[in-house]
Symmetry: C2
Subunit: 352 residues, 2 copies
C-alpha cells in the first residue's frame, strides 16, 4: 500500500475523502486491523507486502470487483455492507475451492465527494468480516476516480494439494447439494429497491432477515473447508451468478448432465411468500437470481452418510436438490422424479 502524501486534515471538519491525504485514509483502515501475524514480513507501507508461504499447501487466488450502480447501490446499501459484500464475494470464491482464507489486498477507487464517515463504514464492514475469517489485509491501493465507488479485492487462501475443489470433478450418479437457502438475497434487494430510503431505517424493518441476506451474505467458508478436508465433494461452485448458471457450469466443466428437482429447492420461506404475493414464480426466481453466495456441490452417493456426519459440525444446513447423469446440459423437473424436465433458464447473454 502506497503512503506518499502528507496529512492535510482538519480534525474538526471530517468532510469528504478529498479533504484527506492518502496516508490518512490508509491509517483509518490500519487502525481497524489486528496486528499482522508473524508470516507477514513486510505489511502495509512499502512498495509491496512480503509474506512467508504456508508449508505443504497450494495457494488459491481470486479477484472480484464491486462497482456502485452495478453490483450495489449506495442509495440503499449502507457503507459497512458495501465493505462486507466486497470481501464476502471473494471469500465465497475461496469457499467454493475448499480453501481456508489467508490474506487480502484491497484496491479502492473513491469519488472525491465520498463522505469520510462512509469510507470509515466501508472499512468497518471489511475489517469485521476479515477478522471473522482470519483474513489478513496485507496491502492495497487507494485512488481517486471521477466515476463510481468501486472496490477490487484479491484474496488468497490455502488448501492441501489434492483437496482443492473445482467445478470439473462431478460424475454421473453424483448427488447435488446446496447450502443454506436460496432466493432470500434477491428478495432482500427487491425490498431495498422498492422502499429506497435511508438504509438505516430499512434494516430495522420486519423484513430485515431478507434484507440482511442481501446486505451481509455469509460466505460458506466452513462448509467449503469441511468438504475439502474430508474429500466429500467431487465438484463445487458458488451461486454468485445464480443456481441455474452454477448448475450449467458444473455440467459443462464435468462433462455430465445436471438434473435439478424444483420441489427440493430450499427457497427461503419469507422470499417464497413475498414472491407468491407478487405472483412471481419462486422457482424461476430462485434459479436465476444471484447474490445468495451459497455453495452448490456434487457428492458420490456412497458418501451420503459421511457427508451428513461431517456437516453436523457446519454452521448451515445443506439440501439435496438433484443429481448428475451422463450426457450434457442442465435441466429442472417441476415435480420430483416425475413430469417433463425443462432446460434451466439462461443466464445473462451479454457482458454486464
Amino acid at each position: 500500500m502506497r503512503v506518499t502524501e502528507q496529512s492535510a486534515r482538519d480534525p474538526k471538519s471530517p468532510g469528504t475523502v478529498s479533504d484527506l491525504s492518502e496516508r490518512d485514509l490508509i491509517a483509518r483502515i490500519q487502525q481497524r486491523l489486528p496486528a499482522p501475524p508473524d508470516w507477514v514480513l513486510v505489511g502495509i507501507g512499502d512498495d509491496a507486502a512480503v509474506v512467508v508461504p504456508e508449508r505443504n499447501r497450494v495457494e488459491v487466488l481470486s479477484v472480484d470487483c464491486v462497482v456502485d450502480g452495478v453490483h450495489f447501490d449506495r442509495a440503499f446499501v449502507p457503507p459497512d455492507a458495501i465493505g462486507h459484500r466486497a470481501l464476502a464475494v471473494n471469500l465465497s470464491d475461496l469457499a467454493a475451492m475448499g480453501a481456508t482464507p489467508r490474506l487480502a489486498l484491497v484496491s479502492m477507487a473513491l469519488p472525491g465527494a465520498l463522505p469520510i464517515a462512509d469510507f470509515d463504514g466501508i472499512a468497518d464492514g471489511l475489517s469485521a468480516l476479515a477478522a471473522r475469517h482470519a483474513t489478513h489485509i496485507i496491502g492495497g491501493n487507494l485512488t481517486r476516480t471521477p466515476g463510481p465507488l468501486s472496490i477490487d479485492i484479491t484474496v488468497m487462501g490455502t488448501v492441501k494439494r489434492r483437496q482443492a475443489l473445482t467445478r470439473g470433478g462431478a460424475r454421473a450418479g453424483d448427488e447435488l447439494y446446496v447450502t443454506g437457502s436460496i432466493g432470500g438475497a434477491a428478495e432482500g434487494l427487491h425490498i431495498l429497491r422498492s422502499t429506497h430510503h435511508d438504509p438505516r431505517s430499512v434494516i430495522r424493518d420486519p423484513q430485515s432477515a431478507l434484507v440482511e441476506r442481501y446486505l451481509r451474505p455469509a460466505p460458506r467458508v466452513r462448509v467449503g473447508t469441511l468438504l475439502a478436508r474430508n474429500r466429500l465433494a467431487s465438484a463445487c461452485i458458488d451461486l454468485s451468478d445464480g443456481l441455474a448458471a452454477a448448475a450449467r457450469q458444473i455440467a459443462e466443466a464435468s462433462a455430465i448432465a445436471v438434473a435439478l428437482e424444483a420441489d427440493a429447492l430450499p427457497i427461503d420461506p419469507a422470499a417464497r411468500d413475498a414472491l407468491a404475493a407478487r405472483q412471481v414464480d419462486p422457482v424461476a426466481e430462485a434459479l436465476t437470481e444471484g447474490d445468495d453466495y451459497e455453495l452448490l456441490f456434487a457428492v458420490r452417493p456412497r458418501l451420503r452418510r459421511r457427508l451428513e456426519a461431517v456437516l453436523r459440525h457446519a454452521d448451515v444446513a445443506v439440501t439435496r436438490i438433484g443429481s448428475c447423469r451422463s450426457g450434457s446440459g442442465a435441466t429442472v423437473a417441476t415435480t420430483s422424479g416425475a413430469g417433463d424436465a425443462a432446460p434451466l433458464p439462461a443466464g445473462y447473454g451479454h457482458f454486464r
Copy 2:
C-alpha cells in the same frame, strides 16, 4: 476468472464490448497468453486459480490501479500502452522489492462503449509485457462500469527471504543511486497533452523517445533482482510518485537524512532541452514529476565497486545522485557538495 455467460457475438460486427459476453472477452485475453506453467494447477475458468508456491522463497504481493482520466487518458494513450502501463506500474513495485515476477490477476472495469479493438489492444499490451517478464496471468475479473475504464492488477513475485529490499534499511553514509534517466516520462506526457491528437500519429513524431518513456515504461526488474541477489542495496523504492517523494520515503522509513545533488541528477537530455525551451527548471521538474518508474536505492560505500561489477550485467545504467546522513528529512543541494541545501519540494498534499 469467472466464465458465466454465453456468446452472443456477431463475428461480422465487432463493435463494442457490450456486444460480447464476458466469456468471449475472457477468451480474447486467453488467446494472447502462453500455456500456463506446471505450477498452475487450476487456471482461468474456475471460481479461483490454484498455484503451487515456489520453494524456499517468500512472496511479494502488490496491487495497483490505473483509471482513465486520472492515471492515463484514452484521448492520447493508445490501448496497448494502457495495458502495458497497467502492468508496468505493478512490476515496478516488485522490482523495488528485489522480487522476480511470477503471476498476476487482472481486474478490469469496462465502459460498455469501449470498442472491442481497444479491448484487444489493451490485452495485447498486457500480454506482451507479461511475457517479457515471465509473469503468468492466472485469473482476473471483468465487470461493466458506468464510469471510466479502470484496470486493477495484483502481482506476486518471489525472492529469497533475507534478500527482499525495503525502504527501511538505509544508514548514514550509504550512497544513493537512481536507474536510467528521470524527467523523460513527464515530458512525454506533456507532449501528448499539448498535441492531443491521434496517438498513432503522435508516436511517429521525432519526440517519440520521450513519448515512449511515458507510454511504455520499462520496469527495472533486472536491476531490482540483481541488487537483491547480490545483497547490494540497503533500501530501494520506485519513483512512481517522483524522486522527491521517493527520497523522503527512504529517509522516513530508514530514519536517516537524504541529501541529493542537483547537478548529479540524470535528467533525460531531450527533456532537459524541452524544459529549458519552455523556461521551466529541469531539476524541479525531475524531482516532482512521477511516471518514470526508475528505482532509487541506497548502497553501503564499501560495496561501490561490487555494485559497478554486478550492474555491468544490467540493462540500464545507474547514477550516484546523493547520500544518506544522520538526521531526518530530504534535501537537494544546487551545486555538488557546495551551496545551501534546500528541502525537497513537497508532493501532492491531498488525496488524488
